[in-house]
């Protein structure tokens, strides 16, 4: 294989370009449909309302590999006023599901913190389902400097 200097330069530039675009060039990103489907499945017929749930996420995440997120749901955590579960979704990841927390009366409060991956700048969505079937939603846009999937 004898490459001329020009060919090598073109090749290197191409490779750098691929590396820069890498993720966005992949077709396998979750689309709005997949996210909406996940929301509908979780809501089970209810319409997600605003309020009661608050999602905390950084405005800008330098490293998409570990993005800290927390959710907090206003709930007495006893009797009928119980938050049963919270689902986290990311609409720009290859697969929108992130995790589902399930609480009980023994939880004392419906709060949880974890660390997640974000492939690119996108919305993180948190949904809470209460025992009476009502569903609440909050969303935050997180700007991602370096994507945290693929390799």
């Amino acid at each position: 294989m004898n490459h001329t200097r020009r060919q090598m330069l073109a090749f290197t530039a191409g490779a750098a370009g691929m590396a820069a675009f890498g993720f966005s060039a992949l077709p396998a990103l979750a689309d709005a449909d997949a996210t909406q489907k996940a929301i509908d499945e979780f809501a089970a017929g209810a319409t997600p309302a605003e309020g009661r749930i608050s999602l905390t996420a950084p405005e800008i995440a330098e490293n998409g590999n570990t993005v800290p997120i927390s959710v907090e749901v206003e709930s007495a955590m006893s009797g009928d006023d119980l938050c049963e579960s919270v689902m986290i979704l990311a609409d720009g990841n290859p697969n929108p599901d992130v995790c589902t927390f399930r609480f009980s009366e023994l939880s004392g409060a419906a709060t949880a913190t974890t660390r997640m991956r974000l492939a690119k700048t996108q919305n993180v969505i948190a949904l809470a389902r209460m025992k009476d079937g009502t569903v609440y939603m909050d969303r935050k846009e997180v700007k991602v400097t370096i994507g945290g999937c693929g390799g």
């Binding site: 995790c99 009980s104 023994l106 939880s107 004392g108 974890t114």
Partner: protein
């Protein structure tokens, strides 16, 4: 794959107190999206379920998807009414189960 889990919870609490529990376990959480040097997809291997139980009663559970970072970390709360032991369980895609226990004394 996974090493000894780390758990942080208070040793003592008063009855009815809501305590904060933090857990972290070392695990690569291979998402199934990455490719190796030859362009072959690396198969997914993650912890897919985490459970915290107090004396047999479930306190907190989480279903994990590949979008959870490597070395999954959780912080959550628990209401303690009596002395007892918290049991933590992580279930791997390959069927392995990692367990840890920690006692709490209620004054």
């Amino acid at each position: 794959m996974a090493s000894k889990p780390r758990i942080k919870l208070p040793k003592k609490a008063s009855a009815g107190e809501v305590i904060t529990i933090k857990t972290l376990i070392s695990h690569e959480m291979e998402s199934g999206q990455r490719k190796d040097k030859d362009g072959n997809a690396i198969p997914r291997q993650i912890i897919n379920k985490f459970t915290c139980a107090f004396e047999g009663a479930t306190v907190f559970e989480c279903d994990l998807d590949p979008a959870i970072s490597a070395n999954p970390f959780f912080e959550f709360t628990a209401k303690v009414n009596e002395s007892g032991t918290f049991k933590f369980t992580w279930v791997d895609d390959d069927g392995s189960v990692y367990e840890a226990e920690q006692a709490i004394e209620v004054a």
